[in-house]
Every structure is written in C-alpha cells, then in structure tokens.
Symmetry: C2
C-alpha cells in the first residue's frame, strides 16, 4: 500500500456528521405532515420528489428544501399554510448554519497522514455549503486541494486525477458511500477504502459489491487507515 501517496477523502459522513442532521430534519418534516399522511408515505413521496429533481437541482440543502416544499404542497393538496412553508425554509437554513461535528478520530488521522501524503477533499453538494463546512471543520490546512463536484462518477474522478496528474495506481479514495466514493474509483483502476456510516441516504445505497482484490478495503474506523497505508 505504500505506493498510494495520494488520498482522496469524501467529506459528509466520512469526516463530519451529515446524515444525522438530515435524519433530524426528516423527523420534523414527518411531524409537520403527520395529520395528512403517515410517516412512510411522507418519506417515500419526498424521496421520489428528490430523485425527480436531482438532475435539475443537484445535491445539497437548497435543492432538498425546494423538494420538501414541493412535496408538502402535493401531499396536502395545497392546504399547507404559508407558516408551515416558512418553517420548511427555516429548517433548510438551520441545516446550512449547523455546526460541523467531526467524526471521532478524523482530526488526528488526517494530521498523521498529511506529512507523508497528498490529501484531496472530494465531495459533492452545494458549493458554498461545502466550503463553509470545511472552514468550520478546521481541517482545511491538511488538504492540498478541494474538489466540489456536481456528481461523483467515473468521469468526474477521471477528470480530478487528470487535473492533479495522479496515476490511478497511486490513488486511494476514502469514503462512506460505496456508490459515490468506492465503485467509480475502482473502475478506474484506483483503490478504495470504505468506512460505513451508521446512516445511508437512499440514493447512496447500492446492491453492487466491489470486486477488486487488493484494491478494495473495508474499514471499521478511520483510525485504521495509517496501518493500511503502512503495509
């Protein structure tokens, strides 16, 4: 593993908590619509709206908020009040101004790896929101470069590696999403270390299992990374 000198890190749910914030918002959303529909219907309809809007809105809090408003109007046949829509806008704002809570072990592990590796932050979502979270995280100085992408697929990773003149065999991507962080880099011939987060957004779930002996690693914790790289 000593050849992997360039490390890519996903941000949300890899370096800091994110899905738990969305989960709290979903709970408040279900409560807001509880007198109209059961929780399962609310969840299913909101997810369908998000998927339908994904191509147009992309990832991130602002698109989520717009989808939540659209879904609330549809699920109440337009009977939702302006006050409740204002609540949804405020929920979005709360998410954007939420403190950044690092996952345990992240700060120490990055500090340990940064002197001997080139670290890239590779994430998707709202441009300004991700930049703000990085600043709040205090981790910015460890990263040589920050790449905020509109999609994390094979083409996007290929373009990042090309831009930074990194050969796939020198690159290891670390992240919680098999679909966005691991499978596309394995397809390019690079390596991936998967560190699951307790919660996974439906869109990031995949049935596909990585098949790349010697290039795919399942870790329980980010603290296991230095040992893996030192092998």
């Amino acid at each position: 593993m000593k050849s992997r000198r360039v490390l890519g890190f996903d941000a949300d749910d890899t370096l800091w908590h994110n899905e738990n914030i969305f989960e709290q918002v979903h709970e408040r959303y279900r409560a807001l619509l509880a007198r109209h529909h059961d929780a399962a219907t609310v969840d299913r309809t909101l997810f369908a709206t998000e998927m339908r809007n994904l191509e147009l809105y992309g990832y991130g809090v602002k698109g989520f908020t717009l989808s939540a408003i659209e879904t609330a109007i549809a699920l109440t046949d337009g009977r939702i009040g302006a006050e409740e829509i204002r609540t949804l806008i405020n929920l979005g704002r709360d998410m954007l101004s939420h403190p950044v809570e690092l996952l345990e072990g992240v700060a120490e592990t990055l500090a340990m790896l940064a002197p001997s590796h080139r670290l890239l932050l590779i994430t998707k979502g709202d441009l300004r929101d991700q930049q703000r979270k990085l600043v709040k995280s205090g981790l910015g100085a460890h990263f040589e470069q920050v790449e905020i992408l509109s999609e994390k697929d094979e083409a996007a990773y290929a373009s990042v590696l090309r831009r930074h003149q990194v050969a796939p065999q020198d690159f290891l991507m670390v992240g919680n999403s098999l679909k966005s962080d691991i499978l596309p880099v394995l397809a390019l011939g690079a390596s991936g270390a998967h560190i699951p987060y307790p919660l996974t957004w439906g869109h990031e779930r995949t049935e596909e299992l990585p098949d790349a002996p010697g290039r795919f690693f399942e870790l329980g914790h980010i603290r296991e990374l230095p040992a893996l790289l030192g092998r």
Copy 2:
C-alpha cells in the same frame, strides 16, 4: 498586450444571456404579488431578502427561488396560497431548464482566440446549473479549465491563478461585472476587459471606477477582444 496568454471569461451575461431571464422572472413575480404591493416594494423587499441570505445560500437559481418564496410569504403576511408558491418553484425550474442563448459574436471570438491562448471559464452560481449551461452552450471544448467559485473576490482569483500557475501579468479577465470580474483581478496586478451587458443585477453594481492604466480596458463588444490582444 501580447503577453496576456491566459484569458479568463465570466459566463453569465458575458458569454450567454442570463440577467434578461431573471428580469422576465421578476416581472412575473411582481404580477403575482401585484394585488398586495406595488412593483417597487416587491423589488426592494426581494432584493433585501436575497442580500440577507447571500452568505448562507450563495449565488444561483435555487437560492433565488427560496428567497422569492420567503419574500412572498412576508409581503402577504402569510396569505399567499400554496398554488402560488408552486408557481414560484416552477419559475425556478424554468430558469434552470432555460435554453442557453449565446451573446452575438461569442462563438466566433472564442474559436479565434483558443488556438493561441489558454482559456479559463471563471464563474459563480449553482455548480450543476453552470456546468449544464456550459454543456448546452457548445463552448466547452475551448476551455482548458472551468472554475465555478462561490465568490469572485481577490482571494478566489489569487487561488485560481496559483492553481493554474499563471502570473498576474500574463492574465486578462473578460466580463460584464466591474465588481466581480474586473476590480479583483486589477488588484492582483492582472488585467481586465469590461464588456457591459444592458442589464446589471443590483448586487453587481459598483461606484468604484478602475484605476489601472494599461491594464483596464472598456470594450463595447467581445469582437473587439482579438484586436486588443493583438496590439
């Protein structure tokens, strides 16, 4: 001017029309709220909401749509109907799926400059929206790199020039906004060519006039650029 081998281009209202689409949406917005408030009040309140939200939302259509919904609720004391809010969401969607209309002369001028210059697209706004517009524009192949920034200030331009190893004296930025395209690059010692667009969003207006003899150029049309560079 032959030393300026690296050209930065703003996108909205420099390469393709944008502010005219916002202007059409503003007109529909005023009409929607006309029975509550006069046009000037609507414009002023929406602009104030946008400015208040700018730090959190950043630039782009999704943040604009959220600000428009928030303003409509405030201006009607919550009496706005869900159907009208749905109309606002659809206005946002229309903007995101609007065809890209190039400004006259853009395609030919870029094709003329690309063989002898490094062209960078440097813009701000929603990540996915700007990428989609570039694809729709058919201009993508001319650009060596695309930089979508959350803010176009001195620090952001400095970081772009550093990343692409461009010395300020080799760089000329072309754009319609003195505030976002010209003043920050002049402050870095680079050059700027200002090509005004008939409409300017309030936030991009500035009283400050560039004072950089030999580095600031006011053009009437993008077609004047090759002659300026050939001098």
